[in-house]
């Protein structure tokens, strides 16, 4: 058993309390620790990536209890990649938060940040349904803390809504898990996969309910219609680095959908035959529409970006809805892309809004270094709206290509293509107002330059790094997709997973 598998959970979990309680009066020290921890996390996740290169599913039996009786962690290509994604995003966001002093606007940023990473990594690595709930809660409660970081009236109200929505979601999660346990008597995902496949469809009433309720739960996280309403208000009012970090939160929902509905309730499961896809597909289409309409209709920059996130989740899940290895692989590519795209724009928006003093989409005197920010915004918008040459365009093409054999291909294509157009128009309008129209106003840039010092390189690192990731994703799309296809094939190899988890210990039992 490879102990590194649990390192992404244990490292931040041990680091966070040290930061919170030992370094709480020394922000500098906390920063060093937080950065060091995050870099280590990234290094570890790279290491994990090499572990899964052998194509095996690696299982970590917590407490040395055999599956399905204890909790297991499962490292396969998908979970390794998600952990890596988390750590890379974390580095970017952390850097930005430190460079812009966001971390110092309230207490315990770094501790909460590390706990958040712990929760996210834990959710990606777990091979147990209830443990997934626990780590959802860990990442959620950390996100509540981060969401209201720094306080303020609107943020607290938005935070309250965020908490309430997710508490409702957590309650639903428990109902769903209850129904799942009630009908299978187990919690281990591999074991569930077996048990679920034994149940005839005509006796699977409760099980099916749990399947769709779980979908609702994950849909909340993944901002899928009709439970996406919370997202714009939350993201728009979260501290920008936190909103950027939240880019991974929606992905946790998407990941859970992918994992659960390939492994446990896979397309080959008689009991839920076609049930999931038939909900995810229309929901995703509407989500794409909601995102696009929101982008076009937004009055403020931050909600606009939030709607863009909603739209991107729709596109991602549209690919997922096909539940074929090919489509999931492209969905994963889109997942990688949209994570960094959202992060880039939220971080950039932070810089702009801080200088502008408002995120209203109205013409205001140009900010100092308007051109620089305009250029960044342009590139970021290219990323988010899925224009070439960044990864969004390839992602879009991949998704379109990935669902081409589906009966609902025309609907999906129409949604994605029209959605893209509307999003492009929305971003063009926004960018043109914020960065172009402002230049028609008094030459305030010169005035502003007297009071504002030029932006430091450090503050731009986060944005630049995220955008660079988009470029790299595009440039190395081939190898990346190669990995994702393997990951997806592994994902659909249910018996491989089950054997890996239950095999070794499972034999002992019989």
């Amino acid at each position: 058993m490879n102990h590194w598998i649990i390192a992404p959970v244990v490292l931040p979990a041990l680091l966070a309390p040290v930061i919170a309680y030992v370094m709480r009066h020394d922000i500098k020290l906390a920063r060093y620790a937080s950065v060091a921890g995050t870099v280590m996390l990234a290094a570890i996740s790279l290491g994990l990536l090499t572990i899964v290169a052998d194509g095996q599913t690696h299982v970590y039996y917590l407490g040395d209890w055999p599956a399905p009786f204890g909790i297991v962690l499962v490292l396969d290509r998908l979970s390794a990649m998600m952990v890596l994604l988390t750590s890379m995003l974390a580095m970017v966001v952390l850097w930005h938060a430190i460079a812009t002093e966001w971390d110092n606007r309230g207490r315990h940023f770094h501790a909460l940040f590390q706990f958040q990473l712990m929760g996210v990594c834990g959710a990606f690595l777990t091979g147990d349904a209830f443990n997934l709930f626990v780590f959802f809660e860990v990442l959620l409660i950390a996100s509540y803390g981060l969401m209201i970081h720094g306080g303020g009236k609107v943020r607290l109200k938005a935070g309250l809504q965020y908490v309430v929505m997710n508490l409702a979601g957590s309650t639903l999660f428990l109902f769903a898990l209850g129904a799942l346990y009630a009908s299978t008597g187990t919690l281990n995902l591999a074991d569930l996969a077996l048990k679920v496949r034994e149940l005839p469809v005509e006796e699977a009433g409760v099980l099916r309910v749990s399947a769709v309720l779980l979908l609702m739960v994950f849909a909340i996280k993944a901002a899928l219609f009709p439970v996406q309403f919370w997202l714009p208000g939350t993201y728009a009012n979260a501290p920008a680095p936190v909103a950027a970090l939240f880019a991974i939160m929606t992905k946790v929902g998407a990941y859970a959908i992918i994992r659960f509905y390939t492994l446990v309730f896979g397309p080959d499961v008689a009991a839920v035959d076609g049930l999931i896809g038939s909900w995810v597909m229309p929901a995703s289409v509407i989500t794409v529409a909601v995102g696009a309409i929101g982008v076009l209709g937004a009055r403020r920059l931050m909600p606009m970006l939030a709607f863009a996130v909603v739209g991107s989740m729709g596109t991602l899940l549209l690919a997922v809805a096909a539940f074929t290895p090919e489509a999931i692989a492209v969905g994963l590519y889109y997942l990688l892309h949209s994570t960094f795209a959202a992060a880039a724009l939220f971080l950039l928006a932070d810089l702009v809004v801080t200088r502008r003093g408002s995120d209203a989409l109205t013409a205001q005197p140009p900010i100092y270094q308007n051109g620089l920010f305009a250029a960044f915004f342009f590139v970021g918008a290219i990323g988010v709206t899925g224009m070439p040459p960044l990864s969004g365009f390839l992602g879009k093409l991949l998704v379109l290509d990935g669902v081409r054999d589906m009966p609902w291909m025309a609907t999906a294509w129409a949604a994605i293509l029209i959605g893209s157009l509307v999003t492009i128009v929305g971003f063009a309008r926004a960018g043109s107002v914020v960065f172009w129209k402002s230049t028609a106003m008094v030459d305030a840039e010169a005035e502003a330059s007297e009071t504002v010092s030029p932006i430091g390189v450090n503050a731009l690192v986060g944005v630049t790094a995220s955008l660079t990731m988009l470029a790299l994703l595009a440039a190395f799309a081939g190898p990346v997709m190669g990995y994702l296809e393997q990951a997806s094939v592994q994902l659909f190899d249910v018996s491989g997973y089950v054997d890996a988890v239950l095999g070794q210990h499972g034999e002992d039992l019989k």
Partner: protein, 955 residues
């Protein structure tokens, strides 16, 4: 380097070059312009090296793997069509770089301009060189993006911004449609390789997906090439600086659509739908553009609509689907480039010198700026199709083709309309000449215009030379036209370009055109007046109105649905959950019940009634906040009792203690909150919510009933069997918590730890924000009780503290074997401390607190974590436990288990978290002006008597 990779280099050079202006601009504008030209020149030279091969009819190609999973590769190929366009793009690009150097004023950021220009050039080159349709799509979208930047270059001008957005919207929409079309093509053929696709014309035309693909691709082409009804964006793109207009609207951007139709000609053309859609659209566009151009007073608008018209012409020719028409089209592409680029530059020069582009305010410039006038006149004549200029030849070829075209069994309609277009074409060309250069010299120019420096007219002059040259010696263009036409048609064409074809129908049509055109110009003033009165759909107004309507609708939908109305979000969640759940259930079923129902003793009914009553009370009286908490307490009590009855003593203990601490927290918070909830919901909403609630409750109850009556095999038989053997404890629930599923518990205490941190951080933020002021201004109720720390309470809690602590220790220690454990123990100790705090006040009690709550949580989490990590030392996985028995005779054996250390972590985290929450709330209260005390009770009467004693003794 093989030939193919040179192609990739050609395509990439402009993009690399786009970095140059940004670097060179610091060295001055001349340096900037010069170095910007370098990549273009280099690319041109590299392209030149391939010319011989292409002229031999070879196709140069290269492939670089990119995204094989999708079928996307960086494949480039160069055939005649590609060469024609690449040459145009680079050649005119070079001229534009030169022209722009002199055109741009010193206020304009030149570096930006050249960067955009090179980006655009690269995108265009990419389109014409791509051998992979997905790659082509990438470059296609890049032209939309870079042209957006170029058109919006003067970002302070509203026209610039609006024109840019309009262009992006229209061409972007087309681009997206084309994505769909291209993907369909690729799917039909099974490859996205252009060469492969071009070879599968028959397969494609036979496919049932042919029509959708055709329409989608044509939408892309039409929008880019400004074909009716998408033509409206092009004139507004004129807001760009003139070099941009000259480049985009002569050789490049708009020609991309034409290029695409030409490129796809072998696989799409030649069918009826193709003919009727493409030829008809082209025809309409040609006529419409020409008519509108005549009535435009802005020089650039005039040229823009003339461009629309000529693009229509090209489209129509490609639509005819014949070899000859293709040859005509290819040739006209070249000719249109030469005269139109020159004309735009001329217009720019006029604008530059006369400070206006309004034809009505121009005139007589022939005398003031003779060189410009010559250039403008020659090129405009070519545009009119005047013999012996190059425009004449290709127009004749067009008319010739039109004359032979039967449209829907009608042989007249196409030739007549084509002639009509030609008439107007002549008219607006003449108007350009006569109304700008002709006529008397005007004296109302702001400053006297004169010919610009050589740099500015060099480029148009060169083009003018070409116009004349090709007109006079068309055979010069013949090889290029041949290879291009071959490439388009995929067949061997043998064009014979000559100035004079003899007296053909086309010639007569031309003559008519000139005659009518002349008349139209003479009558222009009158016609103009009529035109002005005609109801014309103003495309921009319509576009803007549509856009505004869309935006307004989007705003209404987005804001209206995401309006922060939490109750609706939640209602949707509930309703959706019920709906999907019910659907899932009722499309399936359950096996027959297998369990016998347990009997219901009367006492259970008591609990049930109490619970239902209490729930009803909470719901019906929820507006009385304090009261509802009391009702909630009943529910908690009943549930704990139920857990006891149903064999879950651990749950009972936990439930009742959590319940109490929660109520404390709520009471502490309620101190600051309003004590009543206003009645806000309408009856309708209440009814709706009640229906949703009852549906939800019913659904959950039914679900519970469904599984409660049926058995299932559970994995917990293993836990029961191994709890003692493997975990060393007889309380299986506790062993599961600290051992089998200790990892869950680890997560759970971290949740508590984070809760503590979050609350602390929030409190800290609150005490800095506006809340702080509100708190400071808080008024206290004047009639609240005056005793804060009553004597009786203090004495009683003092007596109870040690008992409670003993109880806590007891519950902690026995947890592994009997109900209890770290969590409950933590809560018990919290409650014990809580009593102390309630009795003697927070400040007094806090002074006696030795361990900071912060670090208590921290230690809890760390101890639990380290207990888990400790297993690594033994080479075991995280959280592997160990246990054993110590024997100290005569004491009975004493059990130890690492799980106890883990449970200690749980205990500390719980205690710390609860107390930190209380601490935070109390700090807020103290901030609100609550005074603190340092004595344990309000008044200690024994101290009075002691004082008296002292006084007495003192006396």
């Amino acid at each position: 380097m093989n030939d193919g990779s040179i192609l990739a280099l050609v395509a990439i050079l402009p993009f690399l070059g786009a970095l140059v202006p940004g670097i060179m601009i610091r060295a001055g504008r001349n340096a900037c312009a010069s170095f910007t030209a370098v990549p273009t020149i280099l690319a041109l030279i590299l392209l030149g090296t391939q010319v011989p091969a292409v002229m031999r009819g070879e196709v140069v190609s290269t492939t670089i793997e990119w995204l094989p999973q999708l079928g996307l590769s960086a494949s480039f190929f160069l055939d005649g069509l590609g060469l024609l366009f690449a040459g145009m793009i680079l050649g005119v690009g070079l001229l534009i770089i030169l022209y722009a150097r002199f055109y741009l004023s010193s206020d304009d950021p030149m570096g930006q301009f050249y960067t955009y220009l090179l980006l655009f050039q690269g995108a265009m080159l990419g389109i014409v060189l791509s051998d992979n349709i997905l790659l082509l799509l990438i470059f296609w979208e890049l032209t939309s993006l870079s042209s957006f930047l170029l058109i919006g270059y003067w970002k302070h001008l509203p026209e610039g911004r609006q024109g840019a957005r309009m262009a992006l919207t229209v061409t972007g929409a087309g681009g997206l449609a084309m994505i769909g079309g291209m993907l369909i093509l690729g799917n039909i053929v099974g490859s996205y390789n252009l060469t492969d696709i071009l070879a599968q014309g028959e397969l494609i035309k036979a496919s049932e997906w042919y029509m959708p693909a055709l329409i989608l691709i044509l939408i892309g082409a039409f929008t880019k090439s400004a074909q009716f009804p998408f033509h409206f964006w092009l004139p507004h793109a004129m807001a760009a600086p003139t070099p941009v207009s000259a480049y985009l609207h002569s050789a490049t951007m708009v020609k991309a659509g034409i290029f695409l139709m030409a490129r796809m000609w072998p696989v799409l053309a030649g069918t009826e739908p193709w003919f009727y859609i493409v030829a008809t659209t082209g025809l309409i566009t040609m006529v419409l553009g020409a008519v509108i151009a005549l009535f435009k007073d802005d020089l650039k608008a005039l040229l823009a609509f003339s461009t629309v018209s000529h693009l229509g012409l090209l489209t129509m020719l490609l639509g005819f689907g014949t070899k000859a028409a293709v040859i005509a089209a290819v040739f006209h592409i070249i000719n249109h480039l030469t005269f139109k680029a020159a004309l735009f530059m001329t217009a720019g020069i006029v604008d530059h010198e006369a400070h206006t582009r309004d034809v009505k305010r121009l005139g007589g410039l022939a005398k003031l700026m003779p060189i410009t006038a010559i250039i403008g006149t020659i090129t405009a004549l070519s545009m009119a199709g005047t013999i012996p200029l190059n425009g004449f030849i290709s127009k004749e070829m067009m008319l010739e083709e039109a004359a032979h075209t039967v449209w829907y069994n009608n042989p007249w309609i196409v030739p007549v309309l084509a002639t009509l277009g030609a008439c107007f074409s002549v008219a607006y060309s003449f108007r350009f000449i006569f109304h700008v250069f002709g006529g008397p010299v005007r004296d109302d120019y702001p400053s006297t215009p004169h010919d610009p420096p050589f740099g500015l007219y060099a480029a148009p002059a060169l083009l003018t030379v070409l116009v004349v040259l090709i007109g006079a010696m068309p055979f010069l263009a013949e090889p290029l036209v041949t290879v291009a036409a071959n490439a388009v048609t995929g067949l061997d064409t043998h064009p014979h370009l000559k100035l004079w074809h003899g007296v053909t129908p086309a010639l007569w049509m031309s003559v008519v055109a000139f005659a009518v055109g002349g008349v139209l110009l003479v009558l222009h003033g009158k016609l103009d007046a009529i035109w002005a009165r005609l109801p014309r759909p103003e495309a921009k107004a319509i576009f803007d109105a549509v856009m505004e309507r869309c935006v307004a609708t989007a705003k209404a939908i987005a804001q209206g649905t995401h309006n922060g109305v939490m109750s609706r979000y939640l209602a949707l969640l509930v309703v959706a959950s019920i709906a999907v759940g019910a659907h899932a259930y009722f499309t399936s079923g359950m096996a027959a019940p297998t369990r016998e129902l347990l009997p219901v003793p009367p006492l259970i009914w008591v609990g049930w009634l109490s619970l239902v009553a209490a729930t009803w009370l909470v719901v019906s009286q929820h507006r009385k906040r304090f009261r509802s908490l009391i009702f909630i307490s009943i529910i908690g009590l009943v549930i704990s009792g139920g857990f006891v009855y149903l064999s879950a003593p651990d749950l009972a203990l936990t439930q009742i203690s959590v319940e109490t601490v929660t109520i404390m927290l709520l009471l502490l918070a309620l101190y600051f909150l309003p004590k009543d909830t206003p009645a806000e919901s309408s009856n309708g909403k209440r009814l709706r919510d009640a229906v949703v609630a009852i549906a939800g409750g019913g659904a959950v109850a039914a679900l519970a009933m469904a599984f409660l009556t049926r058995d299932v095999d559970s994995i917990s038989a293993y836990h029961l069997a191994n709890s003692y053997k493997g975990g060393g404890g007889t309380n299986v629930v506790n062993v599961i918590l600290v051992d089998f599923r200790g990892y869950d518990t680890y997560g759970e205490i971290i949740v508590l730890g984070i809760a503590g941190l979050t609350i602390f951080a929030l409190m800290d933020a609150l005490l800095r924000g506006p809340a702080a002021k509100r708190l400071r201004d808080r008024a206290f109720s004047p009639d609240r009780s005056r005793d804060r720390h009553p004597l009786m309470m203090v004495v009683a809690t003092r007596a109870m503290l040690p008992i409670a602590i003993m109880v806590g220790i007891y519950i902690f220690l026995r947890g592994h074997n009997q109900p209890g454990g770290g969590f409950v123990a933590g809560l018990v100790i919290s409650i014990a401390l809580l009593m102390q705090y309630m009795a003697s006040g927070f400040a007094w009690a806090q002074l006696r607190q030795r361990i900071e709550y912060h670090s208590m949580i921290g230690w809890g989490v760390i101890i639990a974590g380290l207990t888990g990590v400790g297993a690594w030392l033994a080479g075991k996985p995280f959280l592997t436990s160990a246990y054993g028995y110590l024997h100290f005779p005569p004491i009975e054996e004493f059990e130890w288990a690492t799980a106890m250390a883990f449970d200690l972590g749980v205990f500390l985290a719980v205690l710390g978290a609860v107390m930190l929450m209380l601490y935070s709330l109390s700090r807020i209260a103290r901030f609100a002006g609550e005074t603190i005390n340092v004595t344990p009770m309000d008044h200690d009467p024994s101290e009075d008597s002691a004082d008296e004693q002292e006084q007495k003794e003192g006396q």
